[in-house]
């Protein structure tokens, strides 16, 4: 027992001594959990804190980290309406791992956390001068475990949970995909059929594309497997549950098994939603996953939604914000376009449309056909600095290499039920999860992007504060509320959905001493840089009296200006 404690103390010493190398690996849920706890224990308590989010369907703890200047004292002596907002400092929420088949985001975030916690004192203080980060590396802990499964794998998306996908009323998951040719991979099958609905892609004959009016279909396709339940369908009831990033209420597709029985039906999505709703300090959301709204920015709405209709496209002003942030991301290399443009029921859309938060979805890696086929075949993560020539971007080259090389050619196979088929296709997971050697490079780029993004946060302040004695015991107070930041104080959609608390200006005086002006004024959103709002009060007071004026932005921080009556 004693030996154990000595060993534990030694281990702690080693850990605290800086032996905290960034993991740079794809971590299973247990390792991710222990690493999160290790990082939280290793970092100074003033810099990092674990915040529980919830529990996955299979019982795994979903955990977030808060990184920033956590020792900052909350303002005290505040009016009751502002008491809860006194401790707030704007936070950027970083979420990854909403999709079971994309693990690169969590690896990158773990790398970044280790990097941030290892920053020297001054650098850390500079990096986190005016905001915190809330980091949630993996939401779909259960579904992502399939990546680590021994034996043949496939990368069908979905969390844990049994769904009777073929609605045959029998046990769910009774017709799983199988590795028929025993090559260790579950790929795809194709076979010629007069009623085929697919043809080979003219540009890349390895791939199948849907037949159209001009081209008669030649092939049928299916994931590798047999008809194990005798219903004529092949591997149609795999053991996957709901896709979490389709389970949020914005654009939710009803009556779709992959989206779930209803929005927020899953323990993970509900926990994440409650986590966000309980943290009004979240000012910006960044999601690393399978969607993007910065490489291909969604079109702005042509007109505002009709009365009692929800918004379905960003407002023109909010689209400008997307463009502004897309430009920051583009400085770090050409961003990857997501495989699917639409993101029905996604977390990032929920954050923007229903919570009014600036919400950015970033696809960190996606294998794709190269623009120049002769580009270097041996890409290396050798370049960490800003990228000036995207064509030579090592990450792009890697994405092209994977697209080129990770395709197992179609190979004849005698299927026990279908007869001759071909089995082939992309290896599971590799198209969206680059080799672990690229994690540091992606992390470095994203850190520069995130720092630049943080520098653009709205910066609300009080300017030109003037107090004039205008009569016996009468004082006029005037000031301007300004936004010096590069983002508006809130999105335009926040003004519509009214979820973030409004920008409030409070004169901390009893109402009966204020002759003109509002004790508590709710201000409209202030645009970036030029945003300015003039306020004026006429009050009764006495010379030398100290008054407080408070400015409460939606996501913090609360500002207090003291005034001494002349």
């Amino acid at each position: 027992m004693k030996l154990l404690s000595i060993l534990a103390a030694l281990a702690l010493l080693i850990v605290r001594g800086g032996a905290q190398a960034p993991p740079d690996a794809y971590l299973d849920a247990a390792r991710l959990d222990s690493d999160l706890k290790r990082l939280a224990a290793w970092g100074q308590p003033s810099r990092v804190r674990l915040e529980p989010v919830g529990t996955s369907r299979e019982g795994r703890p979903i955990v977030a980290l808060r990184v920033g200047d956590l020792d900052r004292p909350a303002l005290d002596g505040l009016p009751a309406t502002l008491a809860a907002r006194g401790a707030h400092r704007p936070a950027i929420l970083l979420v990854s791992g909403l999709e079971s088949d994309i693990l690169v985001g969590s690896a990158v975030l773990m790398h970044l956390v280790a990097t941030w916690l290892d920053l020297p004192e001054e650098e850390f203080a500079r990096r986190f001068a005016d905001h915190d980060l809330l980091i949630l590396p993996r939401v779909d802990l259960d579904g992502s475990e399939r990546y680590f499964r021994k034996g043949a794998r496939c990368d069908l998306p979905g969390a844990a949970g049994s769904i009777d996908q073929d609605r045959d009323g029998r046990d769910a998951d009774e017709d799983q995909p199988l590795d028929l040719d025993a090559d260790g991979l579950i790929l795809e099958m194709r076979w010629p059929d007069p009623e085929g609905t697919f043809i080979t892609d003219e540009k890349d004959p390895r791939l199948l594309v849907a037949a159209d009016a001009q081209h008669r279909g030649r092939y049928l396709r299916n994931i590798e497997g047999r008809d194990q339940d005798g219903d004529g369908e092949f591997a149609e009831d795999p053991a996957v549950g709901v896709q979490l990033d389709r389970n949020f209420p914005q654009g939710f597709v009803e009556h779709d098994l992959a989206s779930g029985p209803h929005p927020m039906s899953e323990p993970e999505t509900r926990a994440l939603a409650d986590f966000v709703l309980a943290r009004p300090e979240i000012a910006v959301v960044v999601v690393f996953g399978g969607h993007d709204n910065l490489a291909e920015i969604p079109a702005a709405e042509s007109k505002p939604p009709a009365r009692r209709e929800p918004r379905r496209a960003p407002t023109a002003a909010d689209r400008k914000l997307l463009e502004q942030v897309a430009a920051l991301l583009a400085q770090e290399g050409k961003p990857f376009k997501a495989r699917d443009r639409a993101a029905p029921g996604s977390f990032h859309d929920w954050c923007y449309y229903q919570l009014g938060l600036p919400s950015f979805a970033i696809c960190l890696f996606e294998a794709q056909a190269g623009e120049s086929p002769k580009a270097a075949a041996t890409s290396q993560p050798n370049e960490i600095g800003p990228v000036s020539r995207p064509a030579e971007d090592a990450l792009q080259l890697e994405a092209e290499r994977v697209h080129r090389e990770a395709f197992r050619p179609w190979t004849a196979f005698d299927h026990p039920q279908l007869g001759p088929v071909e089995i082939g296709g992309f290896e599971p997971y590799v198209r969206r999860n680059p080799a672990a050697t690229f994690i540091a490079m992606i992390a470095a780029r994203q850190e520069r992007f995130l720092a630049a993004l943080a520098a653009q946060l709205p910066r609300l302040g009080i300017a030109d504060l003037r107090v004039t004695a205008t009569g016996p015991g009468l004082y006029e107070i005037e000031l301007d509320v300004v936004n010096d930041g590069t983002m508006p104080s809130t999105t335009e959609q926040a003004e519509t959905c009214r979820v973030p608390l409004p920008l409030q200006l409070v004169l901390d005086l009893p109402r009966d001493r204020v002759l003109q002006g509002q004790v508590r004024e709710t201000l409209a959103a202030l645009p970036a840089r030029v945003g300015r709002h003039a306020a004026r009060w006429l009050i009764r007071g006495r010379q030398g009296e100290r008054l407080a004026i408070l400015l409460a932005p939606a996501h913090g921080p609360l500002l207090r200006e003291e005034v001494v009556l002349p």
């Binding site: 502002l82 005798g230 608390l501």
Partner: protein, 572 residues
């Protein structure tokens, strides 16, 4: 004396023929009165007593807890001796999702009492309890109910649950609700005499009331609003009271966020009460029919709840129309209506979720309406006043009394009490209970009822045999609504041929007529098992055949989530 004896004999005869059991029998296993309202603790105690008195027919469970921790107590009524719960079509009934709309819980209690107390005594009711399952949740919002009953309220307040919400977005939740300044148990109105420049004057026809002055008149009164003192000192009165959301806008089908639909909640099923009910419905796919009681207005409402949604498919509408028309006969002064067209738009409503999301035939009844006051369709503007004065002996209206208000100074407080307008006066409660129970029980009788009409086994020679069956739904409600079939809601119905001996099945077909060209290939699951996505419609018969080789004996089983299970053996 002779007359007394004659009356006594007549009464005995009536009792013997069961006429007295048109409502509840005289001797009740669980004594209960339907001329009073019950708080949640009393409702829970009654449910427990029913379970104790009828252990073979009633089972009480807690399906969740309200925000304040009150149990959501649901009673299941069924006869396990006549079959399994999941093999029987079920009706779900709830009430009081809006805290102030309390009388539905009493209707639920009446339904429970009516079914249990009459089991074994009244033939139709016995058959209902033997053949069907009833899930009854008298109060979906026990917090709101108890708050409305025990605290000062208006007829319309305490609609919400009691999770604190920052309605005025000032950083505090529930900090400025109304205040019962005069301590009379109701939140009534405040008025002030201002001499001139007011908006109102005394009604010349009835000095208890104020009327608005015309453009060229000078009023001497103003109305300050409902009783309150502006607790948060923000210049607004009663703008952030208890709760402040709507559980009947918190359901997932066509749910819209708060900026589109007031009261929606943070997300679908964000509230423990709605989520518990939603989980219960999804866990009980045998629910074929549903009723949710509200007040007021005398309406039998169905979806869709919003104009942006399509009208229900024609065959489903026919079912609703037949039930709705029947309801209008059972419930005098009630009208059968479509929510968004005839009442107002509801996004995220409960019956919309049940109907459109889960494929259940679903109604909301709005209990009590103005015509019930004087039992006539002809209603007038003075009915409420006259009913108070002539029938309620003045108990629904509190006369104005002076009050010294901390902000406004000398004012007067008075007006309509909380029980004056939306809930039945207790003496008119029992009829509402019985008629609405009758409406739901008729509906429960209309739930799918299946039987095999024919079953045959024909030898075609060379070892080939033809199995034919005809299965019929004798009732109005289909096993699968058209909406359910179109949206692949729940499981389809299945028809399966089996045998203890090995056999080959060569073909299966649905017979649309006697001729071979009218044989349609059904959707097969391993040939012996047919998938009937559209189930059995209203009073529909479907015929099927299989061509098989095998010794038999054969068994055909029809299995339907909402229609139950039927088996027929086919001996060679």
């Amino acid at each position: 004396m002779t007359r007394r004896i004659a009356v006594a004999i007549a009464l005995v005869l009536l009792a013997a023929t069961g006429c007295l059991r048109a409502q509840l029998p005289g001797e009740l296993a669980v004594p209960i009165r339907f001329n009073r309202y019950h708080d949640q603790a009393e409702i829970n105690a009654l449910l427990d007593r029913y379970q104790k008195a009828f252990p073979e027919l009633a089972r009480v469970e807690t399906i969740g807890r309200s925000h304040e921790g009150r149990p959501l107590r649901l009673i299941t009524l069924m006869n396990p001796a006549t079959g399994k719960e999941r093999d029987k079509a079920a009706m779900y009934i709830d009430a009081n999702v809006h805290g102030n709309e309390i009388q539905g819980a009493e209707v639920c209690l009446y339904t429970i009492a009516y079914l249990l107390e009459n089991h074994g005594k009244q033939e139709r009711l016995t058959r209902l309890l033997d053949e069907r399952v009833f899930y009854i949740l008298p109060s979906v919002n026990p917090d709101g109910r108890d708050y409305w009953i025990s605290q000062a309220n208006t007829p319309s307040s305490s609609r919400s649950g009691l999770r604190p919400i920052d309605n005025d977005r000032d950083g505090l939740a529930d900090e400025d609700g109304p205040n019962d300044l005069d301590g009379d148990g109701s939140i009534t109105m405040m008025r002030q005499h201002v001499g001139h420049g007011g908006t109102h004057k005394i009604d010349p026809a009835d000095p208890r009331f104020l009327v608005r002055v015309g453009a060229d008149e000078d009023g001497d009164w103003i109305i300050l609003g409902s009783e309150g003192i502006d607790d948060d000192d923000d210049g607004q009165l009663n703008e952030d009271g208890p709760g402040g959301y709507d559980l009947n806008r918190n359901n997932p089908t066509d749910w819209q966020p708060e900026y589109v639909q007031f009261g929606a909640g943070a997300y679908p099923f964000s509230e423990p009460e709605t989520r518990a009910v939603g989980d219960f419905l999804r866990a009980h796919p045998n629910i074929a029919s549903l009723q949710s009681y509200h007040n007021a207005g005398g309406m039998i409402l169905r979806g869709p709840g919003a104009a942006n949604l399509p009208e229900y498919p024609r065959a489903d509408v026919q079912v609703y129309d037949e039930l709705g028309r029947e309801g209008e006969r059972i419930l005098p002064f009630y009208r059968y209506m479509i929510l968004h067209k005839d009442l107002y738009t509801v996004h995220g409503g409960f019956v919309n979720y049940a109907a459109e999301g889960l494929g259940i035939i679903s109604f909301t009844n709005e209990l009590w309406n103005d015509s019930q006051r004087f039992q006539t369709r002809e209603t007038g503007p003075d009915d409420r006043k006259d009913f108070n004065d002539l029938v309620m002996m003045g108990s629904h209206y509190h006369d104005w009394k002076p009050f010294q208000h901390p902000r406004y100074g000398a004012i007067e407080i008075g007006g309509w009490t909380k029980d004056s307008g939306r809930v039945n006066p207790p003496f008119l409660l029992e009829e509402t209970c019985h008629r609405n129970t009758a409406f739901t029980l008729n509906q429960a009788e209309h739930m799918p009822k299946l039987r095999f009409l024919e079953a045959g086994l024909e030898d075609l020679g060379e070892g080939l045999r033809r199995v034919t069956v005809a299965i019929r739904n004798d009732e109005l409600i289909p096993t699968r609504t058209v909406q359910a079939a179109a949206n692949l809601i729940g499981l389809p119905d299945f028809l399966e041929l089996s045998s203890p001996e090995p056999f080959d099945c060569h073909a299966a077909a649905e017979l649309l007529g006697r001729e071979p060209e009218l044989r349609r290939r059904p959707h097969l699951l391993d040939r012996k098992r047919l998938r009937l996505e559209d189930g059995l419609g209203s009073r529909q018969t479907r015929r099927f055949e299989w061509l098989v080789s095998g010794p038999g004996p054969f068994v055909v089983e029809f299995r339907s989530e909402k229609g139950g299970r039927q088996v027929i053996p086919l001996a060679p």
